[in-house]
């Protein structure tokens, strides 16, 4: 009996044979690995595996406890769903990248020390960037480079933090950071917050995800931000700063979603908003709050992937992504509409959908912790969530103005993947028990109370009333929104301008000066030097040489070569030394 199968390795090593397999065998293989990984995760026993020493530091490749098992479970389920959705792809590259991406995310979730964590953290960044590069075209490739550069920068910050933290605490083991947060811990926190897409470090997400491939974006929506939630829950539970950042995020994403015209970018802003609930939950830090953040991450991965799959299906079929160019698809894509709406009800936290049993846990935890403002702000954000993902996006994408687009349902594998995610969204909402049993702390929370149901429905349906009354104000506009990526996109342009204009001009001016002034001066100096050399220095050197030659002649005359002369000289010397010694030192 094998005690421990490392799921991360299953994916990463499992990626190697993909390019060599063909047709049906490859498809079967692509599904087999996630299924095996899911079984491996379900069979995991809490404990520590793969302890070793590296540079005389303790390393722990895999630490298995309840928190890591919840995330690993949903990651492997998601890998299976994502693979079904991507099954029709013929090129192996994206499948390989997705496997490495999932494997690295699992590596982070099990990492027991910072070095292992960092290694997989970078693996995630590079593997996921490929999913943007694979889309091709100038826009995507530029976005992919920006994505990669932001993540590499974040990785360097994280590594700096790890080194400082290890020097201060003397250990690389990854666990809760307690007491006062040191400089190293702040850097680690910044690295984590970047991957969690906390504003102002959020723009990489909304910049890159909509530019990724249809299938790649589904994977990306699931893993990067949720591993960040995991590491925050592991290292920084109860950090007050996170509560406020989480609330700001939840509202930030919702505000930008109003302005957005690109369907997947709108959904990406809702990742920012939803991760805000999780970050706030981690910040509150009570058992209920951490349970809430964890379960919300679980539910979020499934419904957000479902929404991305729905929007991806529309892009796959129509080739269009802007709400101003979409509409009237419900006649030709009713199944896609129905499955998308299940995801929309789940993210909006309608009763009997997954969001209802998880999001409310975070809000209840805020209430229990006497944070009235947090409670109200998060409730307001859920109103905005339904407004956009449940009303605005489906209205303009599937209903609204009929643009007469030729459309059909997407390929069968895409529909099956969406149905799998939709089934889980409903199953978790109707039977929350199994999910609650997975959570890190014992759950004493009942989502289905009468007051909670009427309260949620009140907020949601009266949001719908607002939508109906002010529909015109919500009409999508043909614009893009400025986010914090402005700083590096315009900043890079300013840098290039500086490099091309003032810097190049300065360089030219300098070379002009050297040609017109410095070079002739140098020539003249050299000529003077030559003259000084010829007449002055050479004369001195020659003079010295002559003097030495003359001295040598004198010496030569003294050296007679007769031994008795030398012996006499030595004896005279000895007598002289003795005489001096006797007279002077006596």
């Amino acid at each position: 009996m094998i005690e421990f199968v490392y799921p991360a390795l299953l994916f990463i090593l499992g990626a190697v044979p993909i390019p060599f397999l063909q047709g049906g065998i490859r498809k079967a293989y692509l599904l087999l690995i996630p299924v095996l990984a899911l079984l491996a995760v379900l069979a995991l026993q809490p404990g520590s595996y793969g302890a070793a020493q590296f540079l005389s530091q303790d390393i722990l490749i895999a630490r298995v406890d309840k928190l890591s098992i919840v995330f690993a479970t949903v990651f492997t389920i998601m890998a299976l769903i994502g693979m079904v959705y991507a099954l029709h792809l013929t090129e192996a590259g994206q499948h390989v990248a997705a496997f490495v991406y999932v494997g690295s995310a699992l590596g982070v979730v099990f990492a027991g020390d910072y070095l292992t964590l960092y290694l997989f953290w970078e693996g995630m960044a590079f593997a996921s960037a490929y999913l943007v590069f694979a889309q091709g075209g100038e826009k995507s490739i530029r976005a992919a480079f920006r994505y990669l550069m932001v993540h590499v920068t974040g990785g360097v910050v994280l590594l700096g933090g790890i080194v400082l933290h290890a020097l201060a605490s003397g250990s690389l083991l990854f666990g809760p950071i307690e007491g006062n947060i040191s400089a190293g811990a702040y850097l680690i926190l910044a690295g984590f917050l970047l991957n969690a897409a906390v504003p102002p470090l959020n723009a990489w997400l909304t910049d890159a995800y909509p530019e990724a491939t249809v299938t790649g974006a589904v994977f990306m929506s699931a893993f990067t931000t949720k591993t960040a939630v995991y590491v925050l829950a592991r290292a920084f539970p109860g950090t007050e700063l996170l509560v406020w950042l989480g609330i700001a995020m939840a509202l930030y994403g919702v505000v930008y979603a109003v302005l957005e015209n690109d369907c997947r970018r709108l959904l990406a802003y809702h990742i920012v908003s939803q991760v805000g609930y999780m970050v706030a939950g981690v910040g509150i830090g009570t058992e209920l709050a951490v349970n809430g953040a964890t379960s919300h991450a679980f539910a979020h991965i499934l419904y957000k992937a479902l929404l991305f799959m729905g929007a991806g299906a529309v892009i796959y079929v129509t080739g269009r992504r802007k709400l101003t160019e979409l509409g009237g698809l419900y006649r030709t894509m009713p199944l896609t509409v129905a499955l998308y709406m299940i995801g929309a009800f789940a993210i909006s936290a309608f009763p009997f959908f997954s969001g209802f049993v998880t999001k409310s846990m975070v809000v209840a935890a805020a209430g229990e912790d006497h944070r009235a403002l947090a409670m109200l702000a998060l409730t307001m954000a859920s109103s905005g969530t339904f407004l956009h993902t449940g009303l605005k996006l489906p209205y303009y994408m599937f209903f609204g103005t009929d643009r007469g687009l030729e459309a059909r349902e997407p390929p069968g594998n895409m529909l099956v993947a969406m149905a799998m995610a939709a089934t889980l969204c409903l199953a978790i909402g109707i039977f929350p028990g199994p999910l609650y049993a997975l959570l890190p702390y014992p759950v004493d929370f009942e989502p289905y109370t009468g007051a909670h149901i009427t309260e949620s429905l009140g907020v949601l349906m009266f949001t719908a009333l607002g939508f109906v009354l002010f529909l015109k104000a919500l009409d999508p506009e043909n614009t893009i929104s400025i986010d914090t990526d402005w700083f590096y996109r315009k900043g890079a342009r300013a840098f290039m301008w500086f490099a091309e204009r003032p810097l190049a001009r300065y360089e030219k001016a300098m070379s002009d000066v050297s040609e017109t002034t410095a070079l002739p001066l140098l020539h003249r100096t050299a000529r003077t030097g030559l003259r000084v050399d010829l007449h002055g220095v050479d004369a001195v050197v020659n003079g010295v040489a002559h003097a030495i030659l003359d001295g040598g002649g004198v010496l030569r005359r003294l050296q007679t070569g007769v031994v008795t002369h030398y012996a006499l000289a030595m004896i005279a010397g000895v007598i002289a030394v003795t005489a001096v010694f006797a007279v002077v030192w006596q």
Binding site: P334, A451, T454, G458, M461, F462, L465, E477, T479, I482
Partner: protein, 84 residues
């Protein structure tokens, strides 16, 4: 069946029925909020029946107009070739 349900929400022919159904649901929700049993209500608003309806509506309107204000007057929305 799914096609018919989706069609009900899309087809112009059902617009009247849709609207009627929507308003009935709204009334039912507010009515239910008045009769529902509240075990522990820690905050003032939790004791007010119909509060969630008002808060949901106000949130929605605020989000729409504040965001659009930031987009148009705050200069967040730019033409698509802004970065080109």
């Amino acid at each position: 069946m799914i096609k018919r349900i989706v069609g009900f929400f899309g087809d112009e022919a059902h617009a009247r029925q849709r609207r009627r159904l929507f308003y009935v649901v709204l009334v039912l929700i507010v009515a239910a909020d008045f009769v529902v049993h509240r075990e522990h209500a820690e905050y003032l608003w939790e004791r007010l029946p119909g509060w969630s309806a008002v808060y949901g509506f106000v949130s929605c309107v605020l989000l729409i107009f504040v965001s659009k204000f930031l987009g148009h007057q705050g200069g967040l929305m730019r033409s698509e070739d802004y970065y080109d």
